[in-house]
Symmetry: C2
Subunit: 888 residues, 2 copies
């Protein structure tokens, strides 16, 4: 069998193209593609990835017919350029570069100027008329080849240059003459012969095969192997080798080399963005010895010389290339070029990396320019990156002094004075001060302080700790689990790395990086430009999943609507219980030993809850509102300290001992798995009765106010057994009938359940019989499926993710294999008995793009997430819908 192992490109003979990335690698495929659309690419050829595979399959031997094909490839180059490889007068020089499907660190990269030897260097001097250039090129070649192909330590080369400079009293390389470079070449060759035991190869063919062998050999070196293992890249993908005629940006003042983007990768602005250097080779642009100059004159600062001005012809040609590339690739490109004696050559093009803001602007601009269609624009923007556009961010130019680092728990940046408790945070915020609430960890009692604060810092807990979850929900920047920071409440101070910050001093948090800075750092306010809403509009046109928000305060509900939420998917009623005006009655209820006592206390809470719900119904104006009845165990509402306990006892007219006894009775070994959710509703039916009454009364009230009927969705938490839902549902229905009879009117309503326990998933066909909807509580489901407490996972989960035991934090992105399997099972079982059963999710995962993709595939009806994640979810849902259309 005879295979094509070598694919030519350039000079009118393009055997490859962009679609052949697997065979030719990314670089080779794009070189052929550029050449095929008429761009000026120096001619060359690509040795395919299949050669690499064959090489390893056959005990590091090349296919028999490879040599002939490489020779033919060289002939193609020689014919195109008109000079010969190894010719002593007009030598052809080539570059040899690796190029796998994906860019991969650890592999051999590039050897330039290959083909030079003691004879051809003279020919190059002659042909170019520049002996210094020729000898410099030769020494560059020996240095590169010597280190990457022959394995000589690169310090050995530097020593020789430094030695000569010392001898001559030079400080800069530019001071070296042709003669000097000649001497250095001599030194290099002696040193290489000594190090390797063999003279430096003089045969250009031997050089070429040496470089090809080095590329293939580097595919299996330890660093490349490690990288592939970590990134799940199969070893049998192999790498390609690109051999290409050299062009020189360093042959004189009419030469240049540059690296640039077709648009501004930072802002997305439609302007040439990048740098070039006159009379330089590619490595000089990045080496930092000379200062690169801007491409476009518009971007030139005083004293800078843009390429637009310095090389107007080459620049004009490049502008055409840019248009051609963007049109052809329909995306912003990251390109490398060389100008040799005023002639432009393209050496590389690839899709350019960009910031979130640029990504958004480029996608919208390109759609409006007609380069891509709107669905493509929707696909182009990474939803996860949107988050950073919705919050203030630190000014990248601002000075800063790092104090410590924690987990990037909720994005955005905030500055404020350090305050150590929630009450003080609220009091100082009320006086107009910007505060940062600093706690070892937060609890539901701190909610009012978190609301009042500009940002939250905790020293314990993970990405899904109470602080992190609540902060994300509120859109407050949060750095959580900053283990390097010690908080001393007593001393009202925090310490990190030997530095102490006292209460009242200012710090700045960057919730996107987890960094904590001393003092104030300047910020940039978010620009929710027209592009943002344009793209959101396009996303909304293609998505199938509805997006709701998790919200319980009017502020959150407003934010959610502003960001485009289509309802509330989770209103956690317990958050409403911590308000100082209510917590007294809540505690009275908890302390009561009798149902009557509890009913008395609950009757005080009724008007508050009714107003809570009425406010939400008003804001959501007919959009669905799902209200979860009380979920957490009652002890969460009791104070933790003796002195607070005493205060509460006094206010309730109880003695401290009774209070402590009751608190001890309520204490639990594992509150997550304790007396909570519908278990409370079953053992204390009066609690759910009060909440149901508040919901129905509010629904009637707002319906009458607005003339727009409210259809509340009542959600029973933590159901694991169908009878639990039967019983609590019957309670809700009974209260509904009572209220309807009292008011002489009725409202429609739904009663559904959270599916958040494995048993609920396993018996979803039974539970569906009593449920109008399922809402997957993926936080608790993840906890129970993994047997993993969110509050405690911080001790080992980061290690698990770091060591790749888990690919991702399962509280951030749904564990498709485990948790996902149960959700899919529950969805299928539920709909097997109720085909139209409404399904949603309301865990933290509702705002995670990968999880949203899962929800789309599993056929859910909606996701519900923190208000600030709503735009992320809208875009992710659109992409998920597009992906699923594509895959079906």
């Amino acid at each position: 069998m005879s295979n094509q192992w070598v694919y030519a490109f350039g000079a009118g003979r393009n055997e490859g193209g962009a679609t052949m990335r697997n065979l030719l690698g990314g670089k080779g495929a794009n070189l052929a593609e550029m050449a095929s659309i008429g761009l000026p690419v120096p001619p060359g050829f690509t040795i395919t990835t299949e050669v690499c595979t064959a090489f390893y399959d056959n005990g590091r031997k090349y296919p028999a017919d490879l040599e002939a094909q490489v020779e033919a490839g060289l002939k193609h180059i020689e014919a195109a350029v008109g000079v010969k490889f190894g010719d002593n007068h007009h030598p052809l020089l080539v570059s040899v570069r690796s190029g796998a499907r994906v860019s991969m660190p650890g592999m051999m990269d590039t050897v330039l100027n290959l083909g030079l030897n003691d004879s051809t260097v003279e020919g190059l001097a002659e042909a170019s008329g520049d002996a210094r250039f020729a000898w410099d090129s030769y020494r560059r070649f020996i240095q590169m080849y010597g280190s990457v192909v022959l394995g000589v330590d690169h310090h050995r080369f530097e020593e020789i240059i430094e030695g000569l400079k010392l001898d001559e009293g030079f400080t800069e390389d530019t001071q070296l003459t042709a003669q000097d470079w000649h001497r250095i070449v001599h030194g290099y060759k002696e040193m290489v012969a000594q190090e390797t035991g063999k003279p430096f190869p003089q045969s250009p063919h031997e050089q070429l095969w040496g470089a090809i062998g080095a590329v293939f050999g580097s595919w299996m070196n330890p660093r490349a192997n490690t990288y592939r293992r970590l990134n799940d890249i199969p070893a049998n993908w192999g790498t390609a080798v690109n051999v290409q005629a050299m062009v020189f940006g360093n042959m004189g003042e009419d030469c240049a080399t540059g690296v640039c983007f077709t648009r501004d990768p930072s802002t997305g602005e439609d302007i040439f963005y990048g740098e070039y250097l006159i009379n330089a080779q590619g490595e000089d642009v990045v080496a930092g010895i000379r200062t690169p100059q801007p491409m476009a004159q518009l971007k030139a600062k005083p004293g800078e010389v843009s390429m637009e001005v310095a090389m107007p012809n080459a620049y004009a040609e490049l502008v055409e290339v840019r248009a051609k590339l963007e049109k052809h690739y329909a995306d912003m490109q990251d390109i490398e070029f060389t100008v040799q004696q005023n002639k432009l050559y393209m050496l590389q093009t690839r899709t350019g990396k960009r910031t979130a803001a640029a990504s958004l602007k480029i996608a919208v601009d390109m759609a409006e320019e007609g380069l891509i269609d709107r669905t493509e624009a929707v696909r182009r923007v990474n939803p996860g990156a949107l988050d950073q556009l919705l919050h203030p961010t630190l000014d990248p130019k601002a000075k800063r002094k790092l104090l410590s680092k924690g987990l990037p728990a909720s994005p955005g940046a905030a500055s404020g004075i350090v305050v150590f408790n929630a009450d003080e945070a609220e009091a100082r915020a009320a006086k107009g001060e910007a505060v940062i609430l600093v706690r070892i960890e937060t609890s539901p009692e701190d909610i009012h302080g978190m609301h009042a604060a500009r940002g939250i810092l905790t020293t314990r807990g993970g990405m899904t700790s109470h602080a992190a979850v609540v902060a994300r929900g509120m859109g407050r920047p949060c750095v959580a689990g900053a283990g390097g920071v010690q908080v001393d409440y007593h001393a009202q101070a925090l310490a990190a790395g030997g530095q102490i910050i006292r209460g009242g001093e200012t710090i700045t948090l960057d919730g996107a990086t987890g960094e904590i800075f001393v003092g104030h750092v300047a910020m940039i306010e978010p620009q929710l430009s027209g592009d943002f809403s344009t793209l959101m509009g396009w996303a909304d046109e293609v998505r199938r999943l509805k997006i709701r928000a998790n919200a319980e305060t009017p502020l959150d509900a407003d934010t959610a609507r502003r960001f485009g939420a289509e309802g509330i998917g989770l209103c956690r009623t317990e958050h409403m219980f911590f308000d100082p005006a209510r917590i007294g009655a809540v505690r009275q209820m908890i302390m009561s030993e009798t149902e009557g006592g509890r009913r008395d206390a609950l009757s005080k809470l009724l008007p508050f809850q009714r107003e809570d719900f009425a406010a939400l119904f008003r804001i959501m104006a007919g959009l669905p509102v799902t209200i979860r009845l009380l979920d957490p165990p009652l002890h969460e509402f009791l104070p933790h300290k003796d002195e607070e306990m005493a205060e509460v006892a006094e206010s309730l007219g109880a003695d401290l001992a009774t209070m402590q006894r009751r608190a001890a009775e309520l204490a639990e070994a594992n509150p997550m798995l304790g007396h909570r959710g519908c278990r409370l509703g079953i053992t204390y039916p009066e609690i759910y009765a009060m909440q149901s009454r508040a919901i129905f009364e509010a629904a009637i009230l707002v319906g009458e106010e607005t003339g727009n009927p409210v259809v509340p969705e009542i959600m029973i938490p933590l159901v694991g057994i169908k009878r639990e839902l039967d019983i609590t549902r019957a309670q809700v229905i009974q209260v509904a009938e009572e209220v309807f009879a009292e008011r002489g009117t009725r409202v429609e309503y739904l009663v559904g359940t959270m599916i958040e326990l494995p048993r609920a998933c396993l018996t979803a066909d039974k539970i569906a019989g009593a449920a109008d909807f399922f809402s997957f509580g993926t936080n608790d489901l993840t906890q129970t499926v993994f047997g993993l407490s969110r509050d405690d996972a911080g001790k080992f989960l980061p290690y698990y993710v770091e060591k790749d035991i888990l690919p991702k934090d399962p509280f951030v992105s749904i564990d498709v294999e485990g948790v996902g399997a149960l959700i899919a099972m529950a969805a299928e079982k539920g709909r097997s008995v109720k085909p139209g059963l409404k399904l949603g999710i309301c865990g933290e995962h509702g705002g995670d793009p990968a999880s949203i993709q899962f929800c789309e595939t599993a056929g859910l009806d909606y996701v519900s997430c923190s208000p600030y994640r709503v735009p992320v979810a809208r875009l992710a849902a659109a992409q998920a819908a597009l992906n699923n259309v594509k895959s079906t």
Copy 2:
């Protein structure tokens, strides 16, 4: 369509039989059966359960042809007895009794003497020659019919008798004459007419249809409905009605009535056991007005007259009947009979209820007598009841004073002095005192005290609290969660119901009932008779499941072998860490901040652990021993109180503050879902390394000692992700190779995993790739599937079981629908990739018969349970195997 609605029995015309229980009810089917095997049954007929169903299906109307069939049935009785229903001279009297498939409280039971009226009563007087008997029978009839058929309050009847006795100055019914009864009948009739607005029915046919209607009507009364709902009895089963010729045990001194068992239901002894009364009707035997006499002379006490002596002919006949019945039914029977004028009549037979001891003896005896085969004997004994045979029990005759009651957490009875802490329990037990350890709840630190105590009492926690689980494992009687008892550690006293018991005073616990008694109560030691081991031997012949024990101490392992365990299924290595000689090193390990420090501390534990394992290997002598590596979170090993903490700090040379800080770092919100199991093994690999080394060194040691190779089974706990098992397995293998190299020898070993998380079940096909066996940890699996903490469930789980939200405590008996579904899934997935994968369970469920049935069906290889449950498990496994053979 014409149906047979009525089935005759007796007098040679038996249309039914024992197999027709669904159609004829239990009573009717057995009457026909007895008659058909030639026993003297008064003739009668049964109206089928289908009539009941038709009655309700047709708006409470009888089938059209029923009346004719009932008339024919009456004719059959009349012909057999030779007297006529309603005949004024020789009237036929009948009884009317209900009889459903299963005996059911709440339904109408019996009307006797039906057919009497103002005329036939005279005929009865005449025919019997006993006017007092006739009028007494008539008044009994009016009273019974009046209350159960006509709904007259039974007090109204008693008032009339009491009034007359008052008038006459009588104290006993026996003082009343025929004349008196006549007057009472008159009073009854007047009262009934007044109450019901209608005269008492004089037509025997009207009486009969009234009684039939009352039986069918009572099938749907509220009490019967409730009972059916609670016991899952479908309403459409219906009840039958039995109409039968009356026979009279109260017609004179040659008459009698009796209720008896064919063997002693308390001991199982093969002797007639029961009571009879001369000249009495059935109700008199149970009413307690006269003292019933024993059946067999052997059972007669001084002053008693046995039936054997008083009525030798009837008794001899009854002995024949007994043999015939036992032979026919192949089981011990509970029978009712009447002797009328020296002639024996059988009125009922049914399978007799019996104690566990009797059940065992009867099953073995009957198998040895050839009445049943051995597998049937194995089926006959309730495995759950065996438990009570293995422990001392309270002498039922002993006097006792109840103090309070808790949950029957671990069977057996124990007396001892009250002690409130584990150390004191150990110290006093060492001095030979019998102690009862009383704690609010227990923790692993109390283990030595629990071991030293005769019994354990806790005031908190459920059937699966720490105290309950550990006590069952040790075979110590335990009363748990006695909420009515207040323990005051400070005052060293407990209080219940106003009574105070101080430390040092004696109490007695009955772990089988949960009762707590003041002082000492006499006990009976268990008799593990030959019958016990005979039955166990038969069980072992038929069972497929292997039975292992959960054991870690030599004592437990010895007990387990004595009870027939075939290996250790779960050795919880952490129990070995609490020993006073070791806990210091354990705490030193925990307090170390460095791996080196931990390794130092662990090296002190190594010799202890090695000897632990060696001891188990020696005792188990080649039987498999599964050792679970460290499972609980490290904070469980730290002391809870400041003073203890200070002690520990001193002994470790650390300061208290450091110790407290480390303890605070280790504290967890939900320890059940925390940093434990293989998560410890991964983050602190040196712990598992030490334990693995101890296992391999011990295995080599004991193998060399005994010449019998030891094949340890190493079990990794809490795996949820396959990589966790990959990593820990690799660690174990590495240590094995190190030890083998050091010792110059190798042992075979297995490395498997607990399957105790939903995620492990869902991904069992992946995990199986790295596991030599799976052992289902059903305790933790139940906790995570339900989201239910064992330690906290006591607050609502009892309520759930009481209210039938859950049929059983899922920690006692596997929740087949939820937990079982995951186990079945894991078994299937595991074996899909490894067909021979060894599967077992090692939770508390391993000793529960219903759970063992599930394990048999799911195809597991073994169950492992507390040593004291091993016999229960052996028997249950045998029954499960028999059931599965039957059902396939």
